[in-house]
Amino acid sequence: MAEITLQAVVSSIPNATGFIEGELEAVGCPLKTQMQIDVAVDEVFTNIASYAYGDEGGSATIRFEFDPETRTVEITFTDSGVPFDPMTMKDPDVTLSAEERPIGGLGIFLVKKTMDSVSYQYRDGQNQLTIRKKI
């Protein structure tokens, strides 16, 4: 288990993906899967940086766990901002033409499509979003 706590701002994302990449390399994650997980980390952290806190700001913690038996990576994002369950966001209609496409919801949709599972819970005043992927 490894953990990092960062300022919940967009400029922290390179630190977030850098931390996860280091952990993934250590467990021999294939490059393609690593890139998919990087994108997922980018999307989830961007959501937290954009919506969790107001002007006063706050922090977010990323926890990395790896089960060597099932070769499954589990990454949990925790913040103490406003309760927000991104899983309740409606999936974007990907059959719409470019002109009709709404902007929101695409990021978490991408995470749901590329990860094996995504789960959310609000506990002890904290948002906890967990993504899992077999590598």
Partner: protein, 98 residues
């Protein structure tokens, strides 16, 4: 991310190297905003692009909308990871990918 531009008359080619994500997408957006007015065709070379996130997709859609009534926008040399992102988001059907 490195952005390399090559303009030939009203044809612009942009090669991206690295990652088109939340942190770097604004850089590309800025470049495109400055350039797209004066050009007819746009070609984006992704041969050295590692991956793309939804922030990058948004920039591509905006550029696609600006270019569609003109000579159009083309994306070339897409790797497997970027291709999968285009596929699952339905962007493969919207963008002109070669």
């Amino acid at each position: 991310m490195t952005i390399t531009k090559n303009q030939n008359g009203k044809d612009l080619e942009i090669a991206l190297e690295g990652r088109l994500d939340t942190t770097t997408a604004p850089d590309l957006e800025k470049e495109l905003k400055a350039d797209l007015d004066g050009i007819d065709t746009l070609k984006l070379d992704f041969s050295k692009l590692d991956y793309i996130s939804s922030a990058g997709l948004r920039v591509l859609i905006s550029a696609h909308k600006v270019m569609a009534p003109k000579g159009g926008m083309k994306v070339v040399n897409v790797n497997e990871i970027v291709r999968e992102v285009f596929d699952v988001t339905g962007f493969s059907d919207v963008l002109n990918i070669e």
